[in-house]
């Protein structure tokens, strides 16, 4: 019998990892009864090594290593996610991402020319032109998202069979574009219809081998929680405006009682918590509406778990920056001791000791890189990893057995990377 051996676990001292749920489900057994047939076995420690290595290699490769880092990161997430005892496999490679990026460049060159031409025109033309380009980019963003999802799905294998995505990226982008305009005009009231519509489009055009996904969700599942959240946020906004009005914050921001600012921060936090709760509900209900033949996904994403990750993110970031700041002061103290003479800090003395501007440049670049690498590191390690793990833990698939006869389709080779998404800074795993 072939059991699912657990990947050797290493515990990092910094990030306590709760004990995994013992999953020794037998392969080929009756999976329907196992509520825990989706597991994620990757450790934060392993991910941290992938990330750090990737960031360091970014320097000698002038940033090009990002394609390799993305690939490794995906292999980490995919490869440690087991469904019914079989791990997902990410079969994409860095070369495809690189080529895709170069192709996206070809699209951006004329856009750049347009920008250049616009920047030399009169002010009105500039405003109208930039507005039009911004709309165009907003449209392209949806297109890029859909293409990137296609790329990821068609490079995901489970039990030797590829996923895939059909449909038309153009149609998806058009839908998203006009829905989001409507959403803007209606002050967000159109959102549940837009969200449900886009979820349905994505999943009804997704495939596992020759089997098409289905989607049973609708706006009705989102309407109640969404409009309640909408009302609550509106109430918070009104409360904040009234508070600011009474304290004359707009006309005399510095004379106001500091307690007012405390209340405003509390209001913003309350809004953030509300949005997080709504997000958890939307993700849970929409993912739970995904069907694949006889198999059905059910997901419970705990909002408190998400909030916990956010809190951990803030703490982790603070700790990281504290360490960086201390390190920076120690280095500066060694390099330019006189700037700190007498217990104070003298910027002019510091600048005077930086005689060569190359040294200054190095200092700025190093500081900058460390600052942003720390941010990217902590957000991936806490938020990215945390979200994926919460999803895997909250997910269960019924009727997995029904997927036994799915046949492979030919590989979707038409896709060259997801360059547009990369170029437009479209996030995602």
């Amino acid at each position: 019998m072939w059991l699912v051996p657990l990947v050797t676990r290493q515990k990092s001292p910094t990030f306590p990892i709760p004990a995994p749920s013992p999953n020794t489900a037998r392969i080929g057994g009756s999976m329907q009864t196992d509520p825990n047939n989706v597991t994620f076995t990757g450790t934060r420690w392993d991910l941290a090594i992938v990330l750090l290595r990737g960031y360091v290699l970014m320097i000698p490769t002038i940033g090009l290593n990002r394609f390799w880092l993305t690939t490794r990161k995906r292999r980490f997430y995919w490869g440690h996610t087991d469904i019914g005892g079989d791990a997902l496999e990410y079969s994409g490679d860095a070369r495809q991402l690189l080529v895709g990026f170069l192709m996206a460049l070809a699209l951006f060159l004329p856009l750049y020319g347009l920008f250049f031409y616009l920047s030399t025109q009169s002010v009105e033309t500039i405003i109208i032109g930039y507005g039009a380009v911004a709309l165009g980019v907003w449209f392209l963003y949806g297109y890029a998202q859909y293409r990137a999802r296609d790329f990821r799905l068609s490079r995901t294998l489970w039990r030797g069979i590829r996923f895939d995505q059909g449909g038309s990226a153009l149609r998806y982008a058009l839908r998203r574009f006009f829905w989001s305009l409507l959403n803007l005009v209606s002050l967000g009231l159109a959102y549940p219809f837009m969200a449900a519509g886009l979820w349905a489009y994505r999943y009804r055009h997704s495939w596992y081998g020759d089997r098409q996904f289905g989607f049973t969700g609708s706006w009705k599942q989102l309407a109640l929680p969404y409009y309640l959240t909408w009302l609550a946020i509106a109430a918070l906004l009104v409360a904040g405006l009234v508070l600011a009005q009474q304290a004359n914050l707009v006309s005399a921001p510095w004379e106001a009682d500091p307690a007012i600012y405390g209340w405003l921060v509390l209001l913003v936090l309350a809004g953030f918590v509300l949005v997080t709760f709504y997000r958890a509900i939307e993700i849970s209900r929409m993912f739970s509406a995904i069907r694949l033949g006889g198999a059905a996904l059910s997901l419970r994403l705990p909002a408190l778990g998400l909030l916990g990750q956010y809190l951990l993110f803030v703490l982790g970031l603070l700790a990281c920056y504290l360490v960086l700041a201390l390190g920076g002061f120690i280095v500066l103290g060694l390099v330019a001791g006189e700037a700190f003479a007498g217990g104070g800090f003298d910027l002019d003395a510091l600048m005077a000791s930086m005689q060569s501007s190359i040294a200054t440049l190095l200092a700025i670049v190093t500081g900058y890189l460390l600052f942003f690498a720390a941010f990217a590191f902590v957000s991936e390690l806490v938020l990215g990893y945390g979200f994926w793990r919460l999803m895997a833990r909250g997910a269960a698939i019924s009727g997995l057995d029904s997927l036994d006869g799915v046949r492979a389709r030919a590989e979707d080779k038409a896709l060259a990377g997801e360059g547009l998404a990369d170029a437009l800074n479209v996030g995602g795993y």
């Binding site: 002038i62 940033g63 980490f76 496999e89 079969s91 070369r95 039990r159 006869g405």
Partner: protein
Amino acid sequence: MAIPARYYDGLVSGAQDAELRYEQDAGGALVVLGPSGAELARWPAGALHLVPAPRGEIRLGANGVADGARIVVRGDEHIGRIRATLPLLAQRQEQERGRQIRLMALSTLALAAVIAAYIFGVPLIASRLVQLVPPGWEDGVGQTVASQIEASIGGDAGLPLCDADPESLANRAIARFAQAALADTNTPFTPDVRVVRSDIPNAFAVPGGRVYFFSALLDAARTPDEFAGVLAHELGHVVHRHGMEQLVSTAGTGLLVGFILGDMTGISVAAGLGATIIDARFSRAAEREADRFAARVAQRLDFQPWALANLIGRVAQDSDFDRALALFNTHPLTEERLRDLTLLGQDRPSGLEPPFTEAEWRAISSMCRR
């Protein structure tokens, strides 16, 4: 002893528990046996390769079978046995690693070459590139830039001329100097020097032929040489079309930096910082070129070119801060310019005509005083 494995045939999704056996004959083959002992697959050893997998697991694929077909083995002991039996796998893995490293190195080299070509090439080709821009268009651009600057510095009032009468003694003297400075050049632009009222000590040229000279800088000038030097320098920007050059190279820099960072939207701080450093380098090169032009004009008219550095040094002292941030500065440090201009002005012919008569200089230096 057989090795337990998981086998996907890549055609149908039913995964199977299997056992692996290795057969030596005919070049060797990996045989996959089902639970009942039936042969599920036979993969020739020469066709096998490793697919990236997490630690504690290996995934095998093979050429000539379905592309999703895999043999998955978990557990260090079994993995060790497979690797020992099939040393070819490690070789293939090394080859693939080498391929990836070569690709990474090659693309890095290509990118480094593009960056180097850009940084060193743009100052060389920008001036030729700009020659392709029709002067009429550049004039139009210059008017847009000028109206933007007037609105941003002068507010609603714009930048009022100190002396609105073009036929006044001062304005005629300035126009004559500008004509003389541009006499030997084939510039398509007619110079349009505007001495305007502003508290900011500054002078600059916009694309096209227009040069702004602010009253605060004129008031700071102690000799006609200083005024003539700075004016000649700004006319140098006109002749070399530096304003247009700067527009072109800023656009190119944004593109390049966006490419390096993968952020074509160019909104990140890194993009801004990188672009600033590169653009500042081009700008310093342009300043030196304009200084050299001023020195050439001083070969024909009697003024000391280093005086311009004196005037600029008087209104903008270089602080330690500037020295430390020299790479971000759009202008070379004053002491460097003074040194270079002194060298350039060493062998000036004698007996030249002064740029302005004494009466003219009196009129110019008082044109902004009410």
